[in-house]
């Protein structure tokens, strides 16, 4: 019996699987213990110094103002709401930045491979100049440029109700009219129609080989259908025009100098990296593919769109995800040029409440969630464009 049990112990000790399990349990326990110690130690030290802990400060009145934001906010609102304003500012500059950077990167990346010597050299110049200069410096340059515009009283008015000054770009906005409801419904119908038209057109081309100009027809429908409804309800149109009142222009929509400078800085900088990723992706497709497509009678544009890009995307998407994450995280450089992003608002919150640990943890948590969501979205897209093994 005893011998047998010893034998069992020995068998366990010599079992690689058991030892592996033990190591893993020990490592996990050590990590948990370390984390627990750090949290406990921090809490104890904060308590010893009489510093308040917890997230209850989020409900208190913030008492400071924020320059811009999609969410309505005033100084008497809570810290939580102030942080939400900052979060939406971060998200809006990131989303618009990602779209702009991708467009720019795609164009420049293709331009670098252009047969036209000047276009290719200019694209190379752009990439090398932009990606080798620190982003912070570029932001200062952009901010210097947009604030060097004339003041509101000498603002540039290039027409169409646009007003450009060092307070930003003011654009006229149409005033909402109750008949716009049906126009919006028509737009929705037209967009849905476009979706189904494309499916039908692709299916028909597979079946018969006959292409259908779905894009042209669809766009005509998307513009035409709401346009017709708009005319049918009597075309009521009233513009909210920017006008000079006191220190600044009132009315209309605003793109602030801080937003524009940050957006340009982030897009132009990240665009250079994306251009290189696009170029590497296209070069990864063997030239035989191009030659084959051309010999089949596809045009250059069709070759690029239908043959090269779908294959290049497999190489492009994973590093592209990293660039999108970088752009989002780099948006926190906003504090340097005064755009009220999440980090900027959190800085002020920490200054006022003295709860630095909670504030920083909150910002880290939010950025983690944003990054993981973006990463998940891109991985999902990657799995769609990835090579399907048959």
């Amino acid at each position: 019996m005893r011998a047998k049990r010893q034998g069992g112990m020995r068998a366990l000790i010599y079992s690689a699987r058991f030892r592996g399990l033990v190591y893993q349990v020990v490592v996990v326990a050590a990590v948990i213990a370390l984390g627990w110690y750090l949290v406990n130690n921090t809490l104890a030290n904060l308590a010893a110094r009489g510093i308040a802990t917890g997230l209850s400060f989020l409900g208190r009145e913030a008492g400071f103002d924020i320059g811009e934001g999609a969410v309505a906010y005033q100084a008497s609102d809570s810290y939580l709401r102030a942080l939400v304003v900052g979060l939406f500012n971060t998200l809006s500059v990131s989303v618009v930045g990602i779209i702009l950077a991708s467009t720019l990167g795609l164009v420049i990346g293709i331009a670098r491979l252009s047969g036209n010597w000047i276009v290719a050299r200019l694209a190379t110049l752009y990439v090398e100049a932009v990606r080798n200069v620190p982003l912070l410096l570029q932001l200062f340059v952009w901010y210097g440029l947009v604030t060097a515009l004339p003041g509101p009283r000498q603002a540039l008015q290039p027409g169409l109700g646009l007003v450009l000054s060092n307070r930003g770009l003011k654009i006229p906005l149409p005033v909402w009219h109750e008949t716009y409801g049906p126009v919006m419904i028509a737009l929705g119908v037209a967009l849905a129609g476009l979706f189904f038209l494309r499916r039908w057109a692709v299916a028909r081309q597979y079946r018969t080989g006959q292409p259908f100009p779905w894009a042209a027809v669809g766009i005509a429908g998307v513009i035409g259908l709401p346009g017709l409804v708009f005319l049918a309800v009597g075309a009521p149109l009233e513009w909210d025009l920017p006008r000079l009142a006191g220190f600044n222009f009132q009315g209309g929509g605003t793109l602030s100098p801080e937003f524009v400078a940050l957006l340009m800085g982030l897009s132009v900088y990240t665009g250079a990296f994306i251009a290189e990723i696009v170029r590497s992706g296209i070069l990864a497709v063997p030239p035989g593919q191009t030659e084959a497509a051309l010999s089949l009678g596809l045009t250059r544009a069709q070759t690029l769109r239908l043959v090269i890009l779908p294959q290049a995307l497999r190489v492009i998407v994973p590093p592209l995800t990293s660039q999108y994450l970088n752009l989002t995280k780099n948006s926190s450089l906003a504090v340097a040029i005064g755009y009220p992003d999440l980090v900027s608002v959190a800085n002020t919150t920490i200054n006022q409440t003295g709860q630095a640990v909670e504030g920083v943890a909150l910002v880290m948590g939010v950025f983690l969630v944003i990054s993981l969501s973006l990463s998940w979205l891109m991985n999902w897209y990657n799995s769609r464009v990835a090579l399907v093994t048959r």
């Binding site: 008492g63 103002d65 320059g67 003041g151 307070r167 006191g246 220190f247 504090v335 002020t348």
Partner: protein, 339 residues
Amino acid sequence: MKIIKTVMAAAAAAMFAGPALAGQTFDSVKAKGFVQCGVNLGLYGFSAPDDKGNWSGLDVDVCRAVAAALFGDSTKVKFTPLSAQQRLPALQSGEIDMLARNTTWTLSRDTANGLNFTTVNYYDGQGFMVAKKLGVKSAKELNGATVCVLPGTTTEQNLSDYFRATKMTFKPVVIEKNEELNGAFFSGRCDAISSDASQLAAIRANESPNPDDYVILPELISKEPLAPAVRQGDDQWMDLVRWSGLAMIAAEEKGITSANVDQMMSSADPEVKRLLGVTPGNGKALGIDEAWAAKIIKQVGNYGESFERNVGKGSKLKISRGLNALYTQGGLLYAPPFK
């Protein structure tokens, strides 16, 4: 290293020092023959050395006044330049005899930190600077303005409080770096810039393309009374520092300047006679020479002279008297009777 040393010294002093005896600092300063005065590392107008190493400024003048009162010679001062973190430990530990380093008088410093503040020598506060061409004369006209501001402990909140209290609106542009913030203001991105008024004056003097194009508005939206401080435990020393500052204010009230102090010695005004020691008594009460105040005025000047020379019309800062005018001219300066 210096910070660590100073803090260690303060800690050691706190642990081992017994209760200070009355007159301890006063006697030791008198015995060593000079005043060891803690000042700013370099804040133009308050305490800054010139290229020859001579210190000048509004705070420096307080140190000189104390030396003039005690030794009859305003040059018997040694300066210890201190950072914001070093200043309180340096005084607590006895490294310096008095602190004149644009330090705001607050309750906790006056009590828990073991200091005593003497008379306020500069009433500072958060204010606004605008371009002259806007034609704005008062902060009450700033409704709808865009305001450049540094993120700080209370700066943004003071700003919001002010605009809420006056039922006006504004748009903040919050930039962390000084250079970028000043650049944004001077390029016209903001209508106004908000900070402590003395800071605004320094920005205007040193950073603006043309200082005459900018004006600091008269309203102050927070309270920052700057006062010289001494260690607790030596009331005689505290009295000397306090009344040295007050003598400069009293001299301005009576129109006594460094230029006319000799003629004023023969004035018939009994208050002037008491201040200048022609009628004795004040010097004996403080434990110093009867001509102490006359020497301060002769060597350092009255408060108005010191103000105009260091931060007012005679300096680059061009700060107006505002709260720092005599009470008779709408300011807060008021010297108790010298009797």
